[in-house]
């Protein structure tokens, strides 16, 4: 597996360039094969049995179009593990656990994680514009797997998972949103109300421990005894409300052109263009300000594709592995991040 190729790759589900407020959505189904204990109670031998069973069925699924990678975490280099983790292909549990296996395609849209906290985590990722379509498709694949693997299920409770908060259709839906206008105009309370009403929580970026930076926020809802449609409708209505609120506030910014907002945008642009050291946190903040500058037409010379490419590449292990920076050299990491941003700004510079 070519690790540098993965680092340089802009995932297919994250390649829309029309300034979306909702950057992408993720569906996750949590499943366990009937008749087996849950992974943390299984011996290595039993975990291997589960792995083989799942791989045998999963590799034939039509979603891969005969093109998938199979990675056994135990057997790959630590640096690849960290890259997969930062891209949300491997979960946090997979970092510490034995016998976790991943199947995923190049587009990084479809992922199956085997033997994390549950036997199977089936993951579908896509753009917001495809939210309903992918939702339907993901349900079909969950049903296809159930047909052949026979998942643990109980009437009145749903699919049985190691953590009871996923009961019901046993899924979670997350969405990465970029809401700079809400942040810039101090409308966090309205935003929180939308989340509370729909039982949505904030989670780390790409399900990692990385907290939300800048105005990039990842939202998550779990099924909690709900069906797919009930969970979906809560998330969809929350996203619609958030998009509406953010758009209203963007229009206000566009009409009033408050000098404080313009100042932030141009300062961030200047810093990204000229800084010699950039930490991850400040980079996300400046990128967030720059992105709203591009979306609102303040800055015309940057192609929006820049934001998609830069999003994963600035993550710590992406930088460390790509530039060969040693584990504890934070200064070098920050230096390389600044250099990368400037290279990518050049690459995506165009004349409006």
């Amino acid at each position: 597996m070519d690790i540098l190729k993965i680092i340089e790759r802009v995932p297919d589900f994250f390649s829309e360039t029309n300034g979306n407020i909702v950057q992408f959505v993720v569906y996750k189904y949590y499943r366990n094969i009937d008749g087996y204990k849950f992974p943390y109670k299984l011996s290595v031998q039993e975990l291997n049995q589960i792995r083989d069973k799942v791989i045998e069925v999963a590799k034939e699924l039509p979603m891969w179009e005969n093109n998938y990678s199979l990675v056994e975490i135990q057997q790959v280099a630590a640096e690849l593990t960290m890259i997969l983790y930062e891209r949300g292909i491997l979960g946090a549990e997979g970092l510490q656990k034995r016998n976790v296996t991943l199947i995923f395609d190049e587009s990084e849209r479809h992922i199956i994680r085997i033997n994390e906290r549950d036997h199977i985590k089936l993951i579908f990722r896509g753009a917001y514009s495809e939210m309903h379509e992918i939702g339907e498709e993901s349900q079909i694949y969950a049903a296809l797997l159930d047909k052949t693997l026979n998942f643990a299920f109980k009437e009145g409770v749903g699919y049985l998972t190691s953590s009871p908060r996923y009961l019901g259709h046993a899924l979670s839906i997350s969405a990465l949103v970029h809401i700079p206008a809400i942040f810039l105009l101090g409308q966090i309370q309205n935003f929180s109300q939308i989340l509370q009403k729909n039982l949505i929580v904030l989670s780390g970026l790409m399900d990692t421990a990385i907290q939300t930076y800048g105005a990039f926020v990842q939202l998550k809802i779990t099924s909690f005894f709900d069906t797919f449609s009930e969970t979906m409708s809560k998330m969809a209505s929350a996203l619609e409300e958030i998009v509406e609120l953010e758009n209203q506030l963007r229009n206000l910014i566009y009409a009033d052109r408050p000098v404080e907002v313009e100042d932030r945008i141009y300062k961030s642009y200047a810093i990204l263009q000229s800084a010699r050291l950039l930490s991850l946190m400040e980079t996300y903040e400046h990128l967030s300000n720059l992105r709203i500058g591009v979306d609102l037409g303040y800055i015309k010379e940057i192609h929006p594709g820049f934001f998609n490419e830069v999003f994963f590449r600035i993550l710590p292990y992406h930088i460390k592995v790509y530039y060969g920076v040693s584990e504890d050299d934070l200064n070098k990491e920050a230096e390389m991040r600044a250099l990368l941003i400037q290279e990518l700004l050049d690459k995506y510079h165009y004349e409006g």
């Binding site: 849950f38 349900q139 079909i140 953590s163």
Partner: protein
């Protein structure tokens, strides 16, 4: 280790006392500890744990206590034992503790896939007529995918 006070019985309890500005630590048997604590009874650990938390799943051995500590079930059978203990909590959080849905069955999606296919095939023809080949390729790929899914379902 023998009790620091009577030197006869086995020490079971760590007893800390604040004496003239210093903390004095003694390792005592239960009887001596109770005497020193002026009659305050030492409650053995097993008496402090509510009996219900010792209920164990017959398949994987997870106890209600384990479950409460980790909020993780050990196997499907655990739900028979522990479901009532968190249903109430769930009801408070999400106002629901019962699942009204069914298993996801492939048969339920046949109609959706067929109607999607019909729509996409029509869209493909229109795209070809308008010579929008880039979009047409995307639609063609999706048709292929859905046809494959349909094969699997049947």
């Amino acid at each position: 280790m023998l009790c620091n006070r009577c030197n006869k019985r086995e020490a079971e309890i760590t007893f800390k006392e604040y004496v003239e500005g210093n903390i004095v630590t003694l390792f005592l048997c239960r009887e001596c500890a109770e005497e020193l604590a002026n009659g305050v009874r030492v409650i053995p650990e097993e008496e402090m744990i509510p009996q219900e938390t010792l209920i164990k799943c017959r398949v994987c051995g997870t106890s209600l206590r384990d479950f409460r500590n980790k909020f993780l079930m050990g196997c499907s059978t655990c739900y028979e034992y522990f479901l009532p203990y968190f249903q109430e909590v769930f009801h408070k959080i999400v106002h629901r503790s019962y699942f009204n849905g069914d298993r996801l069955k492939t048969e339920n999606f046949t109609q959706f896939v067929e109607s999607e296919l019909q729509k996409l095939k029509q869209a493909l023809e229109e795209l070809k007529e308008r010579e929008e080949f880039k979009e047409a390729i995307k639609v063609r790929d999706r048709i292929k995918k859905l046809e494959n899914i349909l094969k699997w379902i049947s």
